[in-house]
């Protein structure tokens, strides 16, 4: 016996204990507890039996029928599963009744293998249900064992155990009053109980600190109201910069909504601040479903209260999503608050996921824009955001160093000395599937690829050059080598799926008028991706009529032509008479015709498995159709004219192009109808081609109005955005039953990691316990809502 115990000690660890209450009705007064035979007690703990209400405190004798959870546990776990030992702690007799209640101390052991990845073999969720009642307060346990006594509290609680029969259990609703209890579990009441955010008062930095070196005058001589008046005139970007100068200026700047013509109410200001806070780098939080345990000898482990999964050592974490639910009551100016938020962050660029490489280019002459390629699988599953964002916020201008991956040049520096010193930007064209790709650095071209471009980029010139290149390639290269700077940066090999056998990727960079254009085309004699429209075309070198045709983000189509000239020259020997005929035909086309081809294109697209996403600083606002005008007028009325570039994509309008949406606007307003219409199994909507800085769903509760997977919801979930917001005055319909389930689609849209992405966790962790009016469901819901929801009340 003794040996067995020692053996057990070696392979298992005492992981927790609980105090169970058992009761027995007796005709005769009970004997003092030491005389109770321990054999009986070993059978006692009948708690955790599930529908608890029906079964009141069972007499000891009857419990055999209902399988105690502990026994179920050991049965399911087999021999190696944790054992438990019971000990009688104390008994109580209620005066005037014949009921005896006994407190039994149940120790729970788990195998040591837990620290090398051991899991509950079966019924792990039942095990989890047991473990959530366990305590690891070893000090209290030893006290309990030493002194068998009951003070007033214990006396009270032994007669007031909850349905689980565990002494001191707080997982169930403690309010005995039925009415009060109902109120606690009323969703509307919970929304009301959420605290309004109030503005933090910072009085520490009440002055601007003068620099030591300066003497008589500086900005600190000005009083706050003058300073505020000065700062109000600044643009959003300048305001952020000023706020970085010192604490006091930051404090003053926080309350200023740049370019907003009206003064916000305090609750709106506080809301803007809270929203900005939520949009900052997302926090890493302890996983809300994991409970922490500590063995008697001080080892930590965590158990998921829903799935029963054990994680030893490290504490499981989730990354908080950015955004939330903004649920002020109707009439409190949510629109204005949202516009203020947009103004506050105007110019901030969305953060690309970590795994991708962003390609930067110039758009419209002076605007630096970026895009990246994401693997289509990621997009369709809508889990782009799962790639953890641990980036810093980028805004406005970026420093060159950051943009230029320096290592790219390693192989080329000596060969292309002109690259050094020029402020030219070379970026590596690659995408998220770059890990699949083998990087092969070859000397770019045996003959330096130098191609002429006329500075005036008219079509007739381009045409002439095309001809020249094709007839006399050597002449062109000679002529232009001095003043044109071009490089084939590198070839890479990849095989994206089965569709393309061997593809070579060439990046093509040139300098023109202090601006850098990176042309990025992929070809293997069969596939070309047009940088302008991101379409892949089956392209054969021998059919040069199929030039990329669309006016692209990189300016007029000259680059395409240049590229094609390069290709032509490289493969000059391959040109047959057919091709030459085609080229001649192309060269003779009138400029008008060419322009037409350029804009309409010849449809030749077949999607490959990668999708280009344009990094944007725009906010996508999705509103019900009847509110489009409301948003428009609010922006027109309250924002300084010309400050926000707004695009409204109504229900009928023609489809805009992705990069225009991404780069030409600060605000894109569209409707839910449009959102639904844009969803299709094989459709790649323009809205999905943009990595938005922020997506705002106005009246976002409409997501939850149907519990099915609607087009609207699917589309909303598959939008890529750094920050996601729901605006709604009524998060759930005010009906008595099952309102909670309406929240799930919203959490899904927000990409909440615990409950939004995992239906099961949501149901088992919150919905079921909440609807059974158990405290644990309520507290989890509260914890969740406190984190991501604010709601100002009138």
């Amino acid at each position: 016996m003794e040996k067995r115990r020692r053996n057990r000690r070696r392979t298992t660890k005492l992981c927790g204990y609980l105090c169970a209450v058992c009761s027995q009705f007796r005709r005769t007064p009970p004997p003092p507890f030491p005389q109770l035979p321990s054999a009986v007690l070993a059978e006692t703990p009948q708690m955790f039996t599930s529908p608890p209400k029906r079964r009141a405190l069972d007499p000891i004798g009857k419990t055999e029928s209902s399988i105690p959870k502990r026994r179920r546990l050991s049965r399911s776990g087999g021999a190696e599963l944790g054992r438990s030992t019971d000990r009688l702690a104390w008994t109580e007799v209620e005066c005037g009744s014949r009921e005896v209640r006994a407190v039994v101390l149940v120790d729970v052991y788990l195998p040591i293998a837990l620290w090398s990845g051991w899991q509950f073999p079966r019924s792990s969720s039942i095990a989890a249900a047991l473990f959530k009642h366990l305590s690891c307060d070893w000090g209290a346990r030893s006290l309990m064992l030493k002194s068998v006594k009951s003070d007033g509290d214990d006396y009270y609680s032994i007669w007031n155990v909850t349905d689980c029969h565990v002494l001191g259990c707080r997982r169930h609703c403690s309010a005995p009053d039925n009415l009060k209890k109902q109120k606690l579990f009323e969703l509307q009441e919970i929304f009301k109980s959420l605290p309004c955010v109030t503005k933090k008062v910072d009085c520490d930095y009440s002055r601007v600190k003068p620099a030591v070196s300066s003497c008589e005058s500086g900005i600190w001589v000005l009083s706050d109201d003058i300073l505020i008046n000065i700062l109000t005139t600044l643009s959003p970007i300048d305001l952020v910069k000023i706020s970085l100068a010192c604490r006091h200026l930051r404090f003053l700047a926080a309350s200023i909504m740049p370019c907003m013509k009206l003064k916000l109410y305090p609750h709106q200001q506080a809301a803007v601040e809270w929203m900005l806070q939520r949009e900052k780098e997302s926090k890493v939080l302890k996983h809300p479903l994991y409970m922490n345990f500590r063995t008697a000898d001080g080892f930590d482990f965590n158990i998921n209260m829903v799935s029963g999964e054990i994680v030893a050592g490290i504490v499981p974490t989730i990354r908080d999503f950015r955004g939330g639910m903004f649920c002020d009551e109707p009439g409190l100016g949510k629109t204005i608050t949202a516009i203020s938020l947009i103004l506050k962050t105007q110019g901030t660029l969305a953060e690309p996921p970590d795994a991708v490489q962003v390609i930067w280019c110039m758009h419209d002459g002076n605007q630096r824009c970026g895009y990246y390629e994401a693997h289509a699988d990621n997009i369709t599953k809508g889990n782009v955001s799962n790639i953890k964002n641990v980036h810093k916020v980028r805004r406005g201008q970026l420093c060159l160093d950051e943009l230029t991956p320096k290592n790219i040049f390693n192989g080329y520096e000596s060969k292309s000395p002109w690259l050094l010193g020029s402020r030219e930007q070379i970026v590596e064209p690659t995408d998220s599937c770059s890990n699949k790709r083998i990087k092969v650095c070859e000397p770019a071209c045996s003959t330096p690829a130098t191609i002429s471009t006329p500075s005036s980029r008219s079509w007739s010139n381009a045409r002439r050059n095309l001809l020249a290149a094709y007839k006399e390639p050597s002449f062109t290269s000679q002529r232009c080598s001095e003043n044109r700077k071009h490089a084939y940066k590198g070839d890479k090999q990849r095989s994206p799926g089965n569709q393309v056998g061997l593809a070579r990727r060439i990046s093509f960079t040139k300098k023109r008028d202090n601006e850098t254009v990176t042309d990025d085309l992929e070809y293997n004699e069969t596939w070309v991706q047009c940088d302008a429209c991101s379409k892949w075309r089956k392209e054969s070198i021998t059919l040069p009529t199929r030039l990329p045709r669309q006016r692209g983000p990189l300016g007029p189509g000259g680059e395409h032509i240049i590229f094609c000239i390069g290709v032509l020259k490289e493969h000059y020997t391959l040109l047959n008479s057919e091709t030459k005929k085609a080229l001649t035909w192309l060269a003779k086309l009138s400029p008008g015709k060419l322009a037409e081809m350029e804009t309409t294109g010849i449809a030749l697209c077949e999607p490959l498995d990668s999708l280009r996403l344009y990094l944007s600083s725009a906010t996508l606002i999705v509103v019900p159709s009847n509110l489009v005008d409301h948003w428009r007028t609010q922006i027109e009325r309250h924002v300084r004219p010309g400050q926000l570039r707004v695009y409204i994509w109504g229900d009928q309008k023609k489809k805009p192009s992705g990069h225009c949406l991404a780069w030409d606007y600060d605000v894109v307003i569209t409707t839910f109808n449009r959102l639904s219409a844009e969803w299709g199994p094989h459709k790649r909507s323009v809205l999905m081609q943009v990595h938005w800085l922020r997506v705002v769903l106005d009246e976002g509760h409409t997501l939850g109005s149907s519990l099915n997977l609607t087009n609207k919801l699917q589309m909303a979930v598959s939008l890529t955005a750094t920050n996601r917001w729901l605006l709604t005055g009524t998060p759930t319909p005010n009906t008595p039953n099952s309102q909670l389930s309406y929240l799930q689609p919203m959490l899904k849209f927000l990409k909440e990691e615990t409950y939004g992405q995992h239906q099961k966790s949501w149901e088992a962790g919150i919905v079921r316990p909440f609807e059974a009016e158990m405290e644990e469901g309520r507290s989890r819901l509260l914890q969740l809502l406190h984190r991501c929801m604010i709601s100002a009340r009138k």
């Binding site: 600190k209 005058s217 201008q397 970026l398």
Partner: protein, 177 residues
Amino acid sequence: MARKNRNPVGKNVDPEAQKKKTRTLTLKSSDGQEFSISESAAVLSIAIENMVEDDCAGGVIPLPLVDGGTLARVITYLNKHAEDGASDEEKRKFDEEFVSGMEMGVLFDVVLAANYLDIRGLLREVRRRIADRMKNKSVEWVRKTFHIESDFTPEEEEQMKKEFAWAWEGVDSDVDD
């Protein structure tokens, strides 16, 4: 009261306004210099106007918060704006030139004086000028120009530089213009 309704620009030639043009007030700066100014110009400052109306402008109006150099500038501004026949266009041009040449320290003095004397137009003009100086400059430049000592901890500073790298990379050149 007729006086209250008078047009400050002085375009309507009523006897009251005429009288004002001839009457002069004496303003005394904190360092004891005295300036005389026509009443019609002086009352562009709401503060002085109030004093005149309350009849405390008997002899010399002391302005203990404004030094002589600044007061001279302010008076130049007032005189121009009270001038007969100066068109709005002219005044706008004058305003522009008036503030563009000023050093930062002078701007602060003037904005304080304008605030104290409650001269709306001047206040607006100088405020705009100061804001212009803040535009498109790096954080370091702002600190240097406005003599601000950063009171962030080194860790905070580091964090900000990471988060807002673009705010340090001079947008315009940091050369004082």
